[in-house]
């Protein structure tokens, strides 16, 4: 059994070397020289470390409440774009079934910090930066995704991920972009790939386009190769040990500094029985019922709250 597990792990790790161009992010961070990460010479995929993935069958993503008012991107537009980005990935056809990962759109959050706390509630958020883009040298990034994961108990288990959209310097479009605009759907579709556990790749054998041209919408759809990667990481028959959609330590719309410290319940390590709306599992032919359906439920809930 042990050798089978090792074999499967190796298969998974070297999947990209077998003809696919996608790369999985791993616990080995190539930006740290001391980790001596080994890279595939063809794809530049990281070959060392444990591949990252979400252990649960469901995660929740929240959008920053005020979205991007200066850029005139409303919360509704932002949520719709986020929804389309996730749906473009999660509607993948994995040999007649859907990937074993559901994404729930949660309530909007007031916190605008990309952070993870070991002692507070957390949230996977999409943030729009309009005032200051705080990354020195990264001023030209249209978006940044930060992924946090376990290094000790369950190495590679993703705990938290946030997407930051640069609305400071980049003209964003939520409809059909003009020649100089950045297509928000394209940007988010790519960042969502990171949030799902994928890294970058250089693959000379690929027929895929070399870059993103202003005004282009071609990146809205993950490639066949990308989706093959998704099906490999989240196969329909994946053994899921956790079903809760809640972020690690539970959800809060507040930043860590505004919360009281988190006290872990005794049974936190057990499988959560309190599914928060994620009991439905995607089936072939039910495209659009996944994330879009959940968005609809969230919208209904919001309308109901407003009416109260």
């Amino acid at each position: 059994m042990r050798s089978l597990a090792v074999g499967l792990a190796l298969c998974s790790l070297f999947w990209s070397a077998s003809g696919f161009a996608y790369c999985r992010a791993t616990t080995c961070d190539p930006s740290d020289a001391e980790q001596h990460c080994k890279l595939d010479p063809r794809t530049q995929c990281v070959l060392t470390g444990t591949p990252l993935s979400w252990a649960s069958g469901c995660i929740t993503v929240n959008v920053q409440r005020d979205a991007a008012p200066v850029t005139r991107i409303s919360l509704e537009d932002a949520e719709a774009s986020v929804t389309r980005a996730f749906d473009s990935w999660l509607s993948a056809d994995c040999n007649g079934a859907r990937p074993s990962l559901e994404v729930k759109l949660g309530d909007p959050v007031t916190c605008d910090a990309s952070e993870y706390s070991k002692v507070h509630h957390n949230a996977n958020i999409v943030i729009f930066r309009e005032g200051v883009w705080p990354y020195v040298g990264g001023e030209d990034a249209l978006g940044i995704t930060r992924v946090r994961y376990d290094l000790e108990d369950k190495p590679g288990e993703m705990w938290d991920a946030d997407i930051e959209v640069n609305a400071v310097t980049e003209p964003l479009s939520v409809t059909e972009p003009t020649i100089n605009q950045v297509d928000l759907d394209s940007l988010l579709t790519h960042e969502v790939g990171h949030l799902l556990g994928f890294g970058h790749t250089l693959d000379v054998g690929s027929t895929m386009t070399a870059g993103y041209s202003p005004g282009s919408i071609e990146l809205r759809s993950p490639s066949t190769d990308d989706l093959a990667g998704l099906c490999a990481v989240y196969p329909p028959d994946r053994k899921i040990t956790r079903t809760s959609c809640e972020p690690r330590h539970g959800f809060s719309e507040l930043c860590a500094s505004e919360q009281p410290p988190y006290v872990a319940p005794d049974d936190e390590t057990t499988v959560s029985k309190k599914s928060s709306g994620c009991t439905m599992s995607p089936h072939p032919g039910s495209s659009g019922f996944g994330f879009i359906g959940l968005l609809g439920l969230a919208a209904l809930g919001r309308v109901a709250r407003k009416r109260r």
Binding site: P30, S31, D32, V136, D140
Partner: protein, 186 residues
């Protein structure tokens, strides 16, 4: 340049710079060579000595960063650093059982020398300009053969056709240095 060398150079540039549409790549606006040079305080060849991750306040929030101490081997253009050792900071790292990856950061190798386009941040550390666009590992053992290749993990780049990565990838270090100094003079 002999035809064979020229074709080799073009081939190397093409083979090393053709980027796939990466899975979920961080999207960067491509910097032209002139922009990359203009924004850099130092354009140097460095080798990594050691690195350390810790929390640092960025934009008012605690973030994991990795500080890599590098030795400056050569100054290609712009100012000469006051010290032969610099502290280069990148986003992400490992602290207390938590790992954090920020895609688009340069993949610094301990085994090779790298061309680094750096700027000094308000935190006193040096940062790569344009993230991985400002980082080019050198391949080739002999000094005359050293060639720039794109940073591993280079993210998706907007305006790729006009960007510095395309111009510099596959160039011999000597030729790249000429281009950089010409860009400084402009």
């Amino acid at each position: 340049m002999k035809r064979r060398s020229f074709l080799g150079c073009v081939g190397a540039a093409a083979s090393t710079s053709l980027l796939t549409r990466a899975a979920g790549a961080t999207l960067l606006r491509g910097l032209s060579l002139e922009e990359l040079v203009e924004r850099s305080g130092f354009i140097v060849v460095v080798t990594a000595l050691d690195s350390q991750s810790h929390y640092e306040e960025i934009g008012g929030r605690r973030s994991i960063v990795t500080d890599t101490r590098v030795r400056v081997e050569d100054v290609l253009a712009k100012a000469e650093p006051a010290d032969r050792e610099l502290l280069v900071r990148t986003l992400g790292g490992r602290v207390g059982g938590v790992g954090e990856i920020v895609h688009g950061q340069p993949a610094i190798s301990a085994a090779s020398a790298d061309v680094a386009f750096l700027k000094l941040g308000p935190d006193g550390a040096h940062w790569f300009v344009g993230m991985a666009q400002g980082h080019y590992p050198l391949v080739g053992q002999l000094r005359a053969d050293r060639t720039l290749v794109p940073s591993a993990q280079l993210p998706e780049i907007r305006d790729y056709e006009r960007c510095a990565v395309r111009k510099l990838s596959g160039l011999k270090l000597i030729r790249a240095t000429e281009l950089l100094r010409a860009a400084v003079r402009r």
